[in-house]
């Protein structure tokens, strides 16, 4: 598989380590009243779709950046990749 790294271009997936659903970037508020339940959902439950999936890949053998990759889990077609830190910062801006 080839991952379209936003800075480095196409890189072989072997250079990366896969984590999972990009929702793992949305860590719940530890101070919320139902924090434990929210954390359990966050840590354990997954949509696990057969189709388009946003997921986290870590360029461990390269520039050590985390990427959010949009990929179809049925065809393996990759629709795009962004720097995870950009996505995380944008999310923060959005929720301000």
């Amino acid at each position: 598989m080839l991952i379209p790294h936003p800075l480095l271009g196409l890189r072989d997936a072997q250079e990366f380590t896969y984590l999972g659903d990009a929702n793992l970037m949305n860590r719940p508020d530890p101070n919320a009243p139902n924090a434990e339940a929210m954390f359990c959902d966050y840590v354990f439950l997954r949509d696990n779709p057969a189709g388009v999936h946003r997921e986290l890949w870590y360029h461990e053998q390269g520039d050590r950046s985390w990427l959010v990759v949009t990929r179809n889990t049925v065809t393996h077609e990759i629709l795009g990749a962004e720097l995870a830190s950009d996505v995380a910062l944008a999310h923060r801006e959005g929720s301000k």
Binding site: M1, N31, A35, E36, F39, C40, I78, A88, R92
Partner: protein, 981 residues
């Protein structure tokens, strides 16, 4: 003599080869199959189940019968198709799957018991008596199974891997492929042309069609000459593209030296990973046969294969070139075999065509509306029975070419699970529209099988591929070629009572398909698995579609409704060696060497694998005969004098930034942000699910600067998790990280005399206890100006330091320390002594911190701060974790000097020993020279409240049991005074 005139063989060469011990000769350009046929040898193998005598059926990699063991000794290659084994001088081959000789195979008796071996018979029996399955039935089945044998010796050849990138990959160098490669190369694209054969041309070499009125080989030669002029075209002969993977990546195997007696200094094969922007699948088509009674005798082969042997290899599959040959066909194409053979003066009995209105193409006897309904000649065809209407007659016949139509080689187009589609005119499957992205089928592979159409389609595919890449394709002039339409009948097999073979290799007949239907194994996948049809080494290339046709007939459905099975890589078999045998043996994985490796080696250290690292395990001295002697001595030296140990492998991360304290607070369960500059704190890391997974230290070298350590095993994981937190969870924090594990050599200097030794290397640094107490850190220089870092931390429980210098100085520093400490009794110690020392102090390591334990179990519950959040804090408080009552304790054997074994389970005294009464296990154990006996650590239910209780350590897997006393997990200096000295 069965050699004809012409052919693409070099009669000036003479190769000697042996088959089953007999010696023959052949020529350059022959395959083992063609050379055997040239020597009148038709019997080449025995079938899997019935051990029927078999000859060659095809002329290429689709061959199901002629499987031989090629070569001998450690290079023995079982299940090699004689049809693709290039002949070389000294080739040695043996037939397979027989007891006795090929002609007198003792297991030939199986054929007489054939009714008992119907499809699926083994599922219905061999169940009684029970004991007989393991002892008798299964060993019998296993001995009968498989075809060839491995030599059981290690493969002595070398293999390689390569990576290629191109604009256009052309798979197949037949008419379509050559046209496509020519057009793409002339357009200036980067092109790779692959063909599994050793010559370019595909079926242009095996048919007698002329191009521009001249032999096809003329055109191929002119192309090859032009190809030489293109720097942007790479031609790969003997290279099979075996699989299509994601994103335009193709797997291919190049047989670099399989056609030589020995590879010499070359590799035997190379695995290529080809990344292509576009690919043209010009893989051609494979002919199918027609099942009829006893259709599997040596001498019965595919019609196009017969033409191939006659045209390319100048040989006929009979005993003599004067013996009559017949053709059995359901389409126009089959007649070509008769014409080609007649042009070489081979006598033709006639063409038996199933169609009533069969056209005539030449001066031979035409048996229209007829079928072949039987054969005679167990070891080689002698007679055939021709039936028309109700009348049958026997005819002398030495070889029979069978032509049942063509199956486009759709395989690679279906590797991404796209299904091929049925074409009612062609009566075959063609690639569907949902193939792998970027792959364009062309020529016979796409159902365009006449020579002219294949050439044109190849050029067209190239134009499509190039335009998609934004390149202009030149018009290329293609030679004039035949474009005869081929009409064929919807005729799939000859009905009858006797066995008619569909899958030759696995001995599956029409009767087996009928039985499967009767037993309701009708879906094509059930049919396949019940009968094993299509599951042999040829993967049903010549038989699958005919089998579908038979099942379709039985169910009353159409062939497309019956479906196909899935096409999967590899297209043809790929040796396991080329897939994984490149870097092997001791080169299977890299060796990571510590900075002091050279010095340790010079001291005669024994090394041990720790992940990919090689670490010094212990340093045996003269006179020591057992590792225990060395390890006991090293451990004692540390607690008495001073020891030196390379601890570089423990992970190190440099963390800097304005928010570094806050960041580390969130990463560690305990407070890290409050560490003062110049201090070090021990830390525990939890996973987000609340379980402990690593421990280490954080040393604050500056306001914005920490150096963090991890365990050796988790160095990569901790770093990854820190980057995840930094980039994905808290990108707003001002924090930067870098892994420095390999950048700094780190040496532990431990023991009562460690300060004395260290004073001799540091440059003007106050090491007194007041100035530099326990858990301090500093930047300094050593050895007169070498920059270094110093940490007063202790894994051994002694007064100890760790000094870090840039890695390239580690070796020299170790040598210097040893030299300067010789009067102090400085002793190098390895991982074994390191282990003894930490067990004596009850420090957790991998066996205790194994990802299944909590902070509370480790006795570190108070290290999970309730004052701030950190990864894992919230979930660490869940019911299941909080209720786990197992605690880390020390364990001392009672009344035994036997070795205490880690992995023993703990039980209360007198308790029955079951899963339900299991109370824990021994995590680590060693001999302690300081305690004078074995000691251990372990997790025990409520262990913290059971001090001094006697329990049992049970080790039934090694047949031992021991009484233990539960003690606190500090065996030496329990108050920890020596650390703070």
């Amino acid at each position: 003599m069965t050699r004809l005139s012409g052919g693409l063989i070099d009669r000036n060469t003479s190769f000697s080869f042996t088959f089953d011990g007999k010696t023959y000769t052949g020529h350059q350009g022959d395959t083992l199959a063609s050379a055997l046929l040239a020597n009148g040898v038709r019997l080449m193998g025995r079938s899997f189940k019935y051990h029927r005598p078999r000859g060659v059926v095809a002329a290429g990699s689709e061959e199901p019968n002629a499987m031989v063991e090629l070569r001998s000794g450690a290079r023995t290659e079982p299940n090699t198709r004689a049809t693709v084994a290039e002949l070389y001088d000294g080739l040695v081959a043996k037939s397979q799957n027989r007891i006795g000789s090929l002609a007198f195979d003792a297991l030939g008796v199986n054929d007489y018991f054939a009714p008992f071996f119907a499809a699926g018979f083994y599922y219905k029996t061999f169940m009684w008596p029970r004991a007989f399955w393991e002892k008798l039935y299964e060993p019998m089945i296993r001995r009968a199974a498989g075809l060839g044998s491995l030599s059981m010796q290690a493969d002595p050849d070398s293999y390689d891997k390569g990576f290629l990138h191109c604009d256009v990959l052309v798979v197949g160098a037949g008419a379509a492929g050559l046209a496509a490669a020519l057009a793409s190369a002339r357009a200036g694209a980067q092109v790779i042309l692959c063909d599994e054969d050793f010559r370019l041309g595909g079926r242009l070499m095996t048919e007698s069609h002329r191009l521009d009125g001249a032999p096809a080989t003329d055109w191929i030669s002119s192309l090859e000459a032009e190809f030489e002029t293109f720097p942007n075209l790479r031609i790969m002969r003997r290279t099979t593209v075996f699989g299509v993977y994601d994103h335009g990546i193709y797997g291919a195997v190049e047989r670099v030296s399989d056609h030589a007696a020995e590879p010499g200094d070359k590799v035997r094969q190379t695995l290529w990973r080809i990344t292509a922007k576009r690919a043209i699948l010009a893989a051609g088509a494979t002919e199918r046969h027609i099942p009829f009674a006893d259709n599997d005798r040596p001498g019965v082969m595919l019609g196009a294969a017969m033409r191939a042997y006659a045209n390319r290899w100048a040989v006929v599959p009979t005993k003599s070139a004067k013996d009559p040959i017949a053709i059995f066909t359901n389409n126009d194409d089959g007649h070509r075999t008769a014409l080609d053979l007649m042009s070489k003066n081979v006598p033709i009995l006639g063409v038996i065509d199933s169609r009533e209105n069969a056209p005539r193409f030449g001066e031979y006897d035409l048996f229209a509306g007829s079928m072949v309904t039987g054969t005679k000649g167990r070891l080689g065809l002698k007679e055939i029975e021709i039936t028309k209407g109700g009348t049958a007659s026997w005819h002398r016949c030495a070889a029979l070419g069978v032509s049942g139509g063509w199956n486009p080689n759709v395989h690679l187009a279906s590797h991404h699970r796209g299904r091929p589609v049925w074409d009612d005119t062609l009566l075959s499957f063609v690639p569907g529209a949902d193939g792998p992205a970027g792959l364009i089928p062309a020529g016979a592979c796409a159902g365009l099988g006449s020579t002219a159409k294949a050439l044109a389609d190849g050029a067209k595919a190239a134009r499509t591929a190039l335009s998609e890449l934004g390149m202009k394709a030149p018009d290329i002039a293609l030679p004039d070629a035949e474009d005869m339409p081929v009409s064929q009948a919807d005729f799939w097999h000859v009905p009858g009572k006797k066995r008619a073979w569909v899958d030759f290799q696995n001995d599956v007949t029409v009767k087996d398909i009928v039985l499967a239907h009767k037993e309701n194994m009708k879906p094509v996948e059930h049919l396949k698995r019940w009968t094993t049809l299509g599951m042999a080494t040829d993967q049903g290339k010549t038989s699958n579609v005919s089998a579908l046709a038979v099942m379709a007939e039985l169910t009353g459905k159409s062939i497309p409704q019956t479906g196909t099975t899935i096409f999967r890589p590899p297209y043809t078999g790929v040796s396991l060696s080329v897939l994984g045998g490149g870097d092997t043996g001791v080169n299977f994985r890299p060796r990571r060497l510590t900075p002091t490796h050279t010095w340790a080696k010079s001291q005669g250290a024994e090394f041990v694998e720790v992940g990919q690292w090689m670490r010094a395990q212990y340093f045996p001295q003269a006179g020591e005969t057992d590792w225990r002697e060395s390890v006991d001595r090293e451990a004692k030296a540390v607690r008495k004098d001073v020891g030196l140990c390379d601890v570089t492998t423990l992970g190190k991360v440099d963390v800097q930034g304005a928010d570094v304290g806050e960041f580390l607070n969130r990463m560690y369960s305990n407070m890290m942000g409050t560490v003062a500059v110049g201090k070090v704190r021990y830390g525990l890391m939890l996973r987000e699910d609340g379980f402990a997974y690593d421990d280490g230290t954080c040393a604050r070298l500056g306001e914005d600067h920490y150096v963090v350590t991890t365990t050796t095993a988790n160095a990569g994981l901790v770093y990854r998790n820190m980057e995840f937190a930094r980039q994905c969870l808290w990108p707003e924090l001002d924090v930067q990280l870098i892994s420095t594990t390999d950048a700094w050599a780190q040496i532990a200097i431990a023991g009562p005399k460690s300060r004395l030794l260290l004073e001799r290397v540091v440059d003007e640094f106050d090491l007194s206890n007041d100035a530099f107490p326990f858990m301090g850190c500093a930047k300094l220089t050593v050895c007169k100006g070498l920059r270094a870092r110093l940490f007063r931390i202790s894994f051994s429980g002694e007064l100890a330091y760790e000094v870090a210098v840039p890695a390239r100085y580690g070796n020299a520093l170790m040598a210097r320390l040893m030299e300067l400490g010789s009067d102090l009794g400085a002793t190098p110690y390895g991982t074994e002594a390191l282990g003894v020392l930490r067990i004596e102090k009850g420090h957790a390591a991998g066996a205790e911190l194994n990802g299944q334990t909590t902070a509370a179990m480790l006795g570190l519950g108070r290290m999970v701060s309730v004052k701030k959040d950190s990864i894992g804090a919230v979930m660490s408080r869940r019911e299941g974790l909080a209720s786990d009552a197992r605690r880390l304790v020390g364990l001392l054997p009672v009344g035994s000097t036997e070795r205490l074994m880690a992995g023993s389970h703990l039980f209360a005294q007198g308790a029955a020993q079951t899963t339900e009464t299991d109370q824990g296990w021994v995590t680590s154990a060693c001999y302690s020279p300081h305690v004078g006996g074995y000691i251990g650590l372990g997790y025990l239910e409520n262990g913290d409240t059971r001090m001094n209780e006697e329990i049992i350590a049970a080790n039934p897997v090694e047949g031992s049991e021991m009484r233990l006393r539960v003690v606190p997990a500090h065996f030496v200096d329990p108050e920890g005074e020596r650390l703070r000295d």
